[in-house]
Each structure stands twice: as structure tokens, then as C-alpha cells.
């Protein structure tokens, strides 16, 4: 078997990738849509969300490796809950101040500050004493915000507050982003945790689930953006899912003690 590509990235480096990748990705999607005058390039928003997902999945594995007592899903839901509030606030305030395009930045800054405060509360008030808690929740809050923003853009094709509220909130598609995006952030560590948990396997799994979420938002985009933009997004989501699924499968084989075929069930067991 050929050697499988693995990687190891420092959290600080990954944070930069996640931040820059998602912010640049969302603005790139806006510019591409504006320049070409179509909404085909909305899928770039979903790709930007994947950067946020990787960033968040890494924060989940850092914090949850200490054990938080309530299961990994709770931290993913917290991340997306903080993200929802931050996105609405950022977009709305930017629109009120007349700087609609800066909504992403305002949402991001608010979410980072709020995440840090929640991390402080968790450590100081509730006595978690997890050294990376503040850092981890800052990351998670920002990652949740960028994931929601990216996929919201992928559904609405615009960063305007009015468009996002009309296409994503009033239609209820935010619930899909909430759960699918939450899965992409929380599921990787939940599925891979254990003494042999490896960063590359967990993060590749995160991108894989992110690809599935992109298929889901693509189906939503069929209704809001039309057939072409929706189909492009579904195809891109499928491609991402397939590529990372194969990669993940190889990594799982690499980390397995042994891979043996068990054969079919014997006739007496059926």
C-alpha cells in the first residue's frame, strides 16, 4: 500500500489558515458573484465555510481532549449558538451603519470576544481549569460564525442583511446550517476520539462532513438561487466529500492495527 499523506499543523498556524481562508473565501465569493453578475459562484462561500470547520474541529479536539463531562456535541452546539447570534448582529449593525460589506468582520470580532468571555467564565466561575479553554472557545466561536456565514452566503448568494434574513432565516434553512454545520465541527472528534486520535484523521473527517453539509445547502440553494447555482454547489459538495472520504478511509486504514476481511455471515447466523 502506498504511503498515505498525513499532516500535523500547529494550532496557531491552523487558526491563521481558518481565519484568513474563511474571510478571504467569503469576500472572494462576493467579488466573483459581483464581477460575473451571476450567483453561480455562491459555492465558494461553502468552501470558505470549510476553512472555518477545520479551524473549529481542531479547537474541539483540543478542548475535549481534557474531558468536559457532557459529551462532545454540547460544545459544537455552543459554537453554533454563539455563531448565530454573532452573524445576525454583525450583518445587522453593518447595514445600520451603512457599511454592509464589513458585516463579516464585525460578526467575527464580536464572536471572538464573546467566545473569550465564555471561556473565562467556564474556567473561573465553573472551575473547569482547562488551560486551553479560553483559546479553544475563542476559536470555536469564530469558527461557528464563519461556518454559518459561509453556508448562509452559499444559500442566499449575497451578504446583504435583508437577503440573508429573507433566504436563510425566514425560510428556516438556518436550522439545516445549524445542525449540518454543527455536525461538521463536533462530529470529527466525537467519531475519532480515543487514545490513538490523530489530528490529520480528525480534520480530514471534518472536511468530509463539511462536504456533505455543502450538498445539503446546495439542495436549499436550488430553491433560493435556482437550478444552476444549486447544482454546481451539490457537485462541488459531492467532489469534496468523495475526495476526503477516500483520504479518510486511507488514514483510517493507516491507523488501524490490522484490516481483515470477515467474509459474509455463515448461513446458520442468518
Amino acid at each position: 500500500m502506498a504511503a498515505v499523506r498525513g499532516f500535523k499543523i500547529e494550532p496557531k498556524q491552523l487558526r491563521i489558515y481558518g481565519l484568513v481562508g474563511s474571510v478571504v473565501g467569503i469576500y472572494l465569493a462576493v467579488i466573483l458573484n459581483a464581477v460575473t453578475g451571476t450567483n453561480i459562484f455562491s459555492f465558494v462561500g461553502a468552501l470558505a465555510a470549510l476553512f472555518g470547520v477545520v479551524w473549529g474541529a481542531n479547537a474541539v479536539r483540543r478542548v475535549c481532549a481534557y474531558g468536559i463531562g457532557t459529551g462532545v456535541p454540547s460544545i459544537g452546539m455552543l459554537s453554533l449558538g454563539m455563531g448565530t447570534v454573532a452573524v445576525l448582529f454583525g450583518l445587522n449593525i453593518a447595514e445600520q451603519l451603512g457599511v454592509g460589506m464589513l458585516g463579516v468582520i464585525i460578526a467575527l470580532v464580536y464572536s471572538l470576544v464573546f467566545g473569550y468571555v465564555v471561556g473565562l467564565i467556564a474556567n473561573r466561575v465553573m472551575g473547569f481549569n482547562i488551560p486551553v479553554m479560553e483559546e479553544g472557545l475563542t476559536d470555536l466561536s469564530g469558527a461557528g460564525t464563519m461556518a454559518i456565514l459561509g453556508w448562509s452566503f452559499a444559500i442566499s448568494g449575497s451578504l446583504g442583511y435583508v437577503d440573508i434574513v429573507k433566504d436563510v432565516f425566514n425560510t428556516g434553512f438556518l436550522a439545516i446550517i445549524f445542525i449540518c454545520g454543527g455536525l461538521a465541527i463536533l462530529h470529527p472528534f466525537n467519531a475519532n476520539l480515543g487514545p490513538d486520535e490523530k489530528q490529520d484523521r480528525t480534520l480530514v473527517n471534518g472536511v468530509m462532513v463539511g462536504g456533505l453539509s455543502t450538498i445539503a445547502t446546495g439542495v436549499c440553494a436550488l430553491l433560493t438561487l435556482g437550478l444552476a447555482a444549486g447544482m454546481v454547489q451539490i457537485v462541488v459538495g459531492f467532489a469534496v466529500w468523495y475526495y476526503f472520504y477516500v483520504w479518510y478511509f486511507r488514514l483510517a486504514r493507516r491507523d488501524a492495527a490490522a484490516v481483515v476481511g470477515t467474509g459474509l455471515l455463515p448461513p446458520s447466523a442468518l
Partner: protein, 242 residues
Amino acid sequence: MSFDINTVIYFLEIVVGGLLVGIGVHFVPVGGAPAAMAQATGIGTGTVQLAAGSGLTGLLSAGLMMHAMSLSPTFATDGYSIWPIVATGAVGAMIMMDATMLTGSWIYAYAVGAPFASAKVNYDPITGFSQPPYVAPGTVGQGIPTICFVSGTIGAAMGGIGGAMIYFPLVLINHNPAMSAIFAIGIFMVDAVLASWNIQGTIEGFHDPKFKKWPQAFKACLVSTVILAVVAVLITPIIGGV
């Protein structure tokens, strides 16, 4: 953004709602994965799921009440009244939680075959029944004893009131029910997760020694909800009521 006395009232309502959610979580008998295997007392799922469930049913029933009020012929002069909305939210959440506990109890009693017993108290404070003889060795109680059921109902009522008290001012601020519901879910998730971290996963109800930790959750939820409420009152409708 227009600040007047109403903004302050909305702000306080959201903060009180968030605190009610945070404290209400402590009343709900959450057993987590051990309870799903009938090895611990309580409902066999996580705190966040239960808190979200009771809060969302509270939201839904509060929304239904608001809709019913808006159909009233005297609505134009009367406007909304908060008490029926809050009461409906509480009842909706209580029905949801009681239905969950009741059907869960049927499964524990008739499918798993476990006697309901609490491992945290020697005598059930409500029925006075002795508990330790029925706790199977190696477990921390099974099923949902009377005290847990009562405690869970109280917790659900607090969650429902909290959900309605967050949702109602949000609708009055931004005039968009869908957005308010999702925003309320965001606030709900933050408070429920903070409270569930405080109880470290499992709790039996108000008779559990862990319940004494609630002041910590109160402080944590106060700080986080204040930050969220400031943001909530700043969001204003822009064009055409969105």
C-alpha cells in the same frame, strides 16, 4: 436603534429568560448515556438536547399564543400581554418534558424491567419510599422516580418560561418571528450548555447534591446573557420589516 424605557424592559426580560433557562436545566433529571442503558437515574439523553427540547416547545407554544392574540378583535387597542404568553410557553414545555419522561418510564418499566430508584437519597422526599434496596449493584439508580419526575416538570416550566421571555421581546424588537426564534435558540444553546457544564453531565433533580452548584451557573449565565441581550436589543428592522 432607539433607546427608551421599553428597550430596558426588553433587555431585562431577555436576561431573566436566560437565567431561568440556566437554572431550569438543574431541575431536569438528565442521565446521559448511562441512563440510556438503565444504569443511572434520569432521562437517557444529554442536557443540551433536553434543554433545547423544552425551550423550543416553549418557543413554539408562546408563538402560537402570540398568533392567537393577534387574531383578537381588540388586538389593535390592547396589543400583546406577556403573562398568557409566558404561561403558554411554560405549559408547552411541561407537556413536552412530561411526555418524554412518561414514555421513557414505560420503556424502563416494561421493556428494560428496572425498578425506579434514586441513588442520591435514602427515602424519596415525596412518596417516602425506601430507595437503596432497589438500586441494582454497580449502578447509580434506574428509571425516573417520583421526585425526579416532579423536579423535571418544574425544570421544564422554568425552561418554557425562559424561552417565552426571550422570544417575546425579540419579536417586539425586530418584528420577525422566524429570526427571533433562531436568535432565541442561539441564546438558549449558550445558557443550556453553560448550565450543563456546571452539572458535569448528569443530575437527578433538586434533591441531588450537585444542585447546590446552581449559583455558579447563575453567575455564568448572567454574564453571558447580558452580553447576548445587549446585542439582541441593538438589532432593529431595516427595510420592510426584516
